[in-house]
Each structure stands twice: as C-alpha cells, then as structure tokens.
C-alpha cells in the first residue's frame, strides 16, 4: 500500500516538471520554426510551391495554411506512434501518413473552398513532396512528445506560411498594385471588400508576376533575414565585449 502511494507521488512529481518543460520549450520551438530554422528562408525546402503560387497574397495564404495543417497533423501522428514504430519501416510509414493527410486536405478543400482549390490546383497534392514535412517528421516528431511535435509543426508551418504571405504580397503589390485580390475565394463573398487597390490605372510590373520575380523576391527576403541576423550577432558581440570591460 505504502509502496504504491510513494510510486504514485513520485510519478506525479515526475510528470509535473515534464509538463512544465513541454511549455518551457515553446519559445525555443517558435524561434526555431519562425526564424532560426525557417523552412523557406533557412532550410530552403518546398521552394517549388513557394515560387509557383505566390503570385498573390491569397494564393500564398491558402497554400501556407494547407501546408501548416499538414505539418501539424503529420507531426502529431508521427509523434504518437513513435514508440511502437520499427525503424526499418519508418520512412514508408511517414510517407503513408503524409500522403493520407494531404489527400484528405485536398478533398476537404475541393469540397469547401472549391474556387481556391481551382486556383491552387496541382500545388495542393504537391504538398506531399514538400521535403520539410518528412524532414520534420524524421528530425523532430519521431523523437519528441506529441505536444512539442504539434507545436513544432505549427511553428514550422507558420514560418513557411508567413514567407508565402510576405512574398505573395510583395509580388501582388508590385505586379498588380493590389492586396488581397480574390480574397472571396477564401473568405466568401465578404472577402471581396478586403481587396485593396492602391492605384486604379496601375500599369502592372510583369517581372514581379513572372517566376523570376519570385526568385528575386525570395532572394531579397533571405538577404534581409541575413542582414538582421548579422546586426543582432554584432550587437551580442559588442555586449559580450563590453561586459568584461565593465567588470
């Protein structure tokens, strides 16, 4: 009797810090997913859909959200089964899981967001081939608990979606002079009022709309990120140098 109560109390004390650590890893996970190891800007994965669909903000947002959902679901499921999955078959099982999730999302989008589905077309099923998803399943979800894996999927997906949205708005703004064009594809008829037209007789900037515009835009974003990173590391260095001097 006493033994079991001791065990219970022990397990309780063991669980409590585990839960705390689960949430305490959240800032690290989000920093990694959104910035330090951003799928699009650092890992440079999933560039095919990234460059192809970012013609407008809404297209980018649509594909970003679909990819994020896939990442959250695949990471959670992989994490749930990680303990009784044989290492020899983990890759086929990951592929199976991801393919099932993406097909499900494709069907749901076809049923509920038909117009957006028509616009994104082939790039929804192509989420399967986005290496970042299987990379997260293999590198993170197969080694961490469900909560952290889901958070990792969310943050990685959010980081990818943000880049898609920023690149999409850059290209839409330069290419067509609008923002949120075709928003009704995603938000229904109410979305039409979201469209912002900056200039009625904007001649359009073809380069931004064409694929080279996507490459240049992504290059500028990566450069911007690297500049910010360097500034920050220089600051940290100066602080580190300054501190011993004070001491």
């Amino acid at each position: 009797m006493t033994d079991t109560t001791i065990e219970q109390s022990e397990s309780a004390t063991r669980e409590a810090p585990a839960r705390e650590s689960a949430f305490s890893e959240l800032p690290a996970i989000s920093r990694t997913g959104l910035w330090n190891n951003n799928v699009a800007l650092v890992q440079l994965l999933g560039l095919c859909p990234l460059l192809a669909v970012t013609g407008t903000l809404v297209n980018g947002l649509g594909l970003g959200l679909a990819t994020m959902m896939t990442l959250i679901l695949s990471n959670s499921i992989v994490s749930m089964i990680r303990n009784w999955l044989k290492p020899e078959i983990r890759i086929p099982v990951f592929v199976l899981i991801i393919a099932s999730i993406v097909t499900t999302i494709e069907l749901i989008m076809n049923a509920w967001f038909h117009d957006l589905y028509n616009v994104l077309g082939i790039f929804i099923p192509l989420i399967v081939t986005n290496c970042s998803i299987i990379a997260r399943a293999e590198a993170y979800a197969s080694k961490n608990n469900v909560l952290n894996s889901a958070m990792d999927g969310f943050m990685m997906g959010l980081g990818f979606a943000l880049v898609l949205v920023v690149l999409g708005s850059m290209r839409e703004l330069l290419g067509f002079g609008t923002l949120f064009a075709n928003a009704h594809l995603m938000f229904g008829e109410a979305g039409r009022s979201l469209t912002i037209t900056f200039s009625e007789d904007y001649p359009g900037f073809l380069l931004a709309v064409l694929p080279p515009g996507a490459f240049i835009g992504l290059g500028l974003l990566i450069a911007l990120k690297n500049i910010i990173d360097r500034r920050q590391s220089e600051k940290q260095v100066t602080i580190n140098v300054a501190e011993p001097a004070v001491n």
Binding site: W84, L85, K86, E88, I89, P92, V93, L96, I97, A99, S100, I101, T103, T104, L107, I108, N110, A111, W112, H114, D115, N118, G204, L206, V209, L210
Partner: protein
C-alpha cells in the same frame, strides 16, 4: 565414398537448424511479420482516412463542380434565355474534331427553352497559342451568331497574352454577336492581317490563334448544326416521344436512338482528320 561426404554436411546443417538456429530465425521471421503487419495497419488506416473523407466530401465536390461549370456556361448564355438542364443536356462530339483542335471526343451543352433550341456551348482549342494550346468555351445561338467565347485554360504570357481572359480585359467579349457572315471570310483575322479584330499591344500571336479557333468553331457549328442539336431533331421527326431530352442525354452511352446518327458519321470524317493533323 563420396556419398557419405555429401550427406554429412547436410545432416550437420539440419542439426544446426534444429538445435541452434530456430531461435534467431524464428525471431527474425517474427520481426518481419510484425513489421509487415505494422505497415499493413498503417496502410489500411491511411486508406480508411482517405476513403471516409472521400465518401463524405463526394457530394459536395460534385455539387461544386456542377456549380462552377454552370456558372461558366451562364456567363456565355444568360440563364434567362433557356430553361432546360444545361449540364445534363449534353452530346458527345466525335466527328470533325480537327475544327475544334481537340484530340479527344468532347461534349457540347445544349440550351433549350420549352423544347426549342436556343444555343449550344462546346469546347474548342486554339492549338497555336504563344505558349501552347488555349482552351476555349464557345457558345453559338441557333441562328449562327456567337453567344460568347471564354478562355478556360491558357498559358499565355502574364500581362500580354493573358488579356484573352475576361479577368484581364474585355477583348474576348468582342466576339459576341459575330457570325460567319459578320464579318465575312476575309474579316475573320486580327487587324494586322487585314481583319476586323483588334490585337493587343505586344501580343499578336495569341489573338490570332483565338480568332482562328473561334472561326473554326463557327464553321464546325455550320457543318454539324443538326448533329449538335440531335435529340431535338429526332424529337421533331418522331413526335411520339414527347420529352426525350431530359432523360435520354443523361445516358450518353446507352442512348442509342439519338447517338446512332453521329456515331455512324464518325469513321468517315475521322480519317481525313488524322490526315490533316
């Protein structure tokens, strides 16, 4: 001498298999079985997930596809001009396909009002677009004038050739009301070639291809007018079948009495088609 030598290693093998190997080989087989079972379970679970979603979304998807098709057709033929079930009143086009620029049989949608022919909408393709074929939907009223032309799919240059699509310019609406007689044969060209249709700045190839495809579609309509409205024609010749167009065209394959006529026409025009291509 040689026989016992040969037998000896066999016996040793069997002995080893009986005494030492059973444990690892059995456990290996067991591992393989478990692994295979796991893989099967995941495959079944994945298939089940997709299957369940498919069954639950199937109706919505079909409904959406019908709606978007109907929406597209309604931009060509105003919905108040017909009152039949446009999407289900279809006929398969197989003859004379070279005029439509398609390799495969396509379907024409017939619009009727109270059983009278109003218009027909059928796909046509301009094979010589700037970046590949431009797929069109052409609607033609029963009097031979164009109800409307819309681009369904194209790969023309954004900002230049994509003005054929209604989202970018109204150019394609310029076909409305035109017919084979208006303008005449020589006028069915872009202005640069001496015709009546505008080209866009910076893009002549795209409008040239579309004008030619629309003209071909009109020629096709003129040549196949009776086939295109087939069920209406048989309705007139056989008055004992009062309203066949609602039920018969749905069954595109078994609808023998109506499809027999175009089917018998098939082989002859098909061969010259191939020769032209």
């Amino acid at each position: 001498m040689s026989e016992p030598d040969l037998q000896a290693p066999e016996q040793k093998d069997t002995e080893q298999a009986d005494t030492q190997q059973p444990v690892p080989s059995q456990s290996r087989a067991r591992t393989i079985m478990i692994t295979a079972a796991l893989l099967t379970i995941f495959a079944i679970a994945g298939a089940a997930l997709v299957g369940i979603t498919f069954v639950n979304t199937e109706d919505d998807i079909k409904h959406n596809e019908r709606l978007s098709l109907l929406k597209q057709l309604n931009t060509i033929i105003p919905p108040e001009r017909y009152n039949n079930d446009l999407i289900d009143d279809i006929i398969t086009i197989d003859a004379d396909r070279s005029y439509l620029g398609t390799d495969e049989p396509t379907q024409a949608y017939r619009a009727r009002r109270d059983g009278k022919d109003v218009a027909v909408v059928f796909p046509a393709s301009a094979p010589n677009g700037y970046n590949g074929p431009i797929d069109l939907l052409v609607g033609i009223y029963v009097d031979g004038s164009i109800a409307g032309v819309r681009v369904v799919k194209h790969r023309e240059t954004p900002g230049l050739g994509d003005a054929v699509s209604t989202t970018h310019s109204d150019w394609i609406l310029g076909f409305d009301g035109r017919s084979l007689a208006d303008p005449d044969q020589n006028g069915w060209k872009v202005k640069r070639d001496g015709g009546v249709f505008d080209q866009f700045t910076g893009a002549t190839i795209t409008p040239r291809a579309v004008v030619k495809a629309v003209h071909n579609a009109l020629v096709y309509f003129e040549n196949n007018r009776q086939t295109l409205f087939a069920s209406a024609k048989t309705e007139r010749s056989a008055p004992e079948l009062p309203e066949p167009e609602m039920s018969e065209p749905k069954m595109s394959e078994p609808g023998q009495s109506k499809t027999d006529r175009p089917n018998t026409d098939q082989p002859e025009p098909d061969q010259p088609d191939n020769g032209k291509q």
